[in-house]
Symmetry: C2
Subunit: 419 residues, 2 copies
């Protein structure tokens, strides 16, 4: 298909999605919940077909020489598939944001103004190899009253198709529109281009994947994007940090899971912090590679020399840049210069210092005496998240159902004319 063909396809798909979105927006929460429960049941009913499709994707990926971690992300087994179905049911149990009143005011002329949450409309969700996103993202869209157009990774094309068929069969069984969720069943990258250009057809693009995907989306999109870029997160051990908490938090923030976006990548240690050697030794003993300058290397012979680029590197691995700073201002300046405005933490027993850090560090999530690994919608009590937004507008940090809504103003009068 040519780019022009893809444009035509996008107009058709977008028009169907808009019609479905209008229906979903006025579908009561109970009907949306019922649709998702039916979708979960359909995923369970069709487990054999979905796992067979996944086996075909895995075989193709192995033949293409895909590596262990990528293969693992792609693979479904009965337990993981049950997790997918249970995840869809969990979304069905979340609080409904649609129709909730943000605020209400009565004007002196008697006009009654209410701001009420409404779905965004049509979401375009572009993701990579994990096939569970087909179900997760579709469920979050439907529960927030949005239609969605999904475009998954080419490695998972068979799995996505089978999971999607189950999801839609469930939605339709429960009386929801078949176009509530559409899947772009192609591996042609031009389809992504058509989605990114679909101003007026898609209201919000959400990329879920690695840096190159997000960068392409941000560079090309003519549609607003809710993007999660890197998590180049800092933990700062302040002069007044409790050494035991500092050690535990540094280890957890870096090493609990090194591949998640909430992992700490740089540890800043105040020169006045009493026990830097203890923290470094604990990290190295736990299997972490430490990169630091001569001052850091002097504390532990196992520290490797840091290079300039390290301060701007999201390792997503058991590697940590460590640097000394003189006081809060230098720490904040370092975070502002090198951070990605995702999640940054201070460890201190000094309330005033902590409050300055929380106020002045310009990140989506700022933490005091807590592990950056808590950066997660579930840990925040939001239920499933569609991602962690590092942009500044509409929604920041973990984005769950509320982040997939917007609002409108309802004005109720009794015949008022404006003087």
């Amino acid at each position: 298909m040519t780019d022009r063909d893809w444009q035509q396809w996008m107009i058709a798909a977008g028009t169907r999605a808009r019609a479905a979105a209008r229906i979903l927006a006025r579908t009561p929460a109970e009907a949306r919940r019922a649709g998702l429960r039916a979708a979960a049941a359909a995923i369970r009913d069709r487990a054999d077909a979905i796992l067979a499709a996944n086996a075909a994707d895995i075989a193709r990926a192995e033949a293409a020489g895909l590596s262990g971690a990528m293969l693992d992300r792609l693979r479904l087994d009965p337990a993981r598939l049950e997790g997918v179905a249970a995840g869809v049911e969990a979304v069905a149990g979340l609080d409904d944001p649609v129709g909730s009143v943000i605020d209400r005011r009565e004007r002196p002329n008697g006009l009654d103004l209410t701001r009420v949450r409404v779905p965004v409309g049509v979401l375009g969700i572009i993701f990579e190899s994990r096939p569970n996103v087909t179900a997760d993202a579709g469920a979050l869209a439907v529960m927030s009253g949005n239609a969605a157009i999904l475009r998954g990774g080419s490695e998972a094309v068979e799995t996505n198709r089978a999971l999607y068929a189950a999801l839609v069969a469930g939605l339709v069984d429960a009386g929801l529109p078949a176009d509530a969720v559409q899947l772009v069943e192609t591996t042609d990258r031009a389809a992504v281009g058509a989605m990114l250009a679909a101003a007026g057809l898609i209201d919000l693009i959400i990329p879920r994947g690695g840096k190159s995907l997000v960068a392409r989306v941000q560079a090309e999109a003519r549609v607003p994007v809710l993007a999660h870029l890197d998590g180049l997160n800092h933990t700062y051990l302040h002069a007044a940090a409790d050494p035991a908490k500092a050690e535990a938090l540094a280890i957890n923030a870096k090493l609990r899971r090194t591949g998640v976006c909430g992992a700490t990548e740089t540890l800043l240690i105040d020169r006045a912090f009493p026990e830097p050697g203890r923290v470094l030794a604990a990290l190295v003993d736990a299997g972490c590679e430490i990169r630091g300058d001569a001052e850091v290397q002097a504390l532990d012979p196992r520290v490797v020399a840091v290079e300039d680029a390290d301060w701007d590197t999201e390792y997503l691995d058991a590697v940590l840049s460590v640097g000394f700073v003189d006081g809060l201002d230098q720490a904040i300046a370092h975070v502002e210069r090198h951070g990605s405005h995702h999640t940054d933490a201070i460890v201190t027993e000094d309330t005033a210092a902590a409050e300055r850090f929380l106020a002045e560090v310009d990140s989506a999530i700022v933490m005091w005496n807590a592990s950056t690994q808590f950066a997660d919608g579930g840990e925040f009590g939001l239920g499933a998240e569609i991602g962690i937004a590092t942009g500044r507008l509409h929604a920041r940090g973990p984005v769950a159902l509320e982040g997939l809504t917007t609002y409108k103003w309802q004005v109720r009068g009794t015949g008022q004319t404006r003087p």
Copy 2:
């Protein structure tokens, strides 16, 4: 200057703006208010210089053959200039959104999560001939804790420069950073291109002007845009509308001021509405041209034939498209097909019909028994507005101080690590 030179200029201006934004974000409300009051005083002190600069712009515009309405928009006189100063003082008196708590929750593990409003950061505001925007937009930016880069229209270049000099002199007198508000003192359109491409330097672009400006911004911007497109607004006279209210609302919605974006452009009349002829006659008698099909023309010989394009035309004039519909569904379908999702109203005494209209019409502002001319931040009790957003994300409808903020998550712990 070449495009490359403009990029370099943008990097320098954006870097200064970011530094100022960081200071403003932690400047207490009282200091921001004091800055704006000093700016208002400086505008009054420098009235002679500002009016002289305006006279130069007017002379140049007259020599270039500018028309009456455009010339009027450009012109300042002592009364208008006092209005500009008073407007800056009014912004200084608004509620401060920065630091207000959106919500707060404690997690079972003891983590205390607070969502708190923070400024967006650096605003890029691009506007056309009205020079008062220099002061209005600058004041709204400063009061919401944002830095701003302003780019005004070439016709008003001298006036903008003089107004801007007064504004900044006041801010600096009161101890605020000189780079809090910057003015792009050029008529070169390439400067706008550099602003639109300034991802990471400018956080939000706000165009204030006509359709061609907004369209260019939306087509080119690599930065999020808070745009106000047309106000192709509808008033729908339902079967159960009170005829006297219907007449008064139709006349006010269309004719109170025809050039504002909240003006009604299309009147939909239900075939079951009892007195369509009375409403049409009142409109024509009040000086409105009515465009309608044969069925409408049959009601009043003064009705002109409507053409297809009329349903999609924002007249901004004493002209009104009038059409008959059969019931609420047809009315909503017409609004969804032809409207611009700005402001749409139903007139009815039937609560159920009104609530369906308020729920189902997908516009930023939906009204029941009220004139669409109330679409205005001041009328909504928000104070001065920077515009009326017709997009779907971040902010919809009248955008005032709150719409110029975003939020961050502050997490307060006592050493929690994630299991």
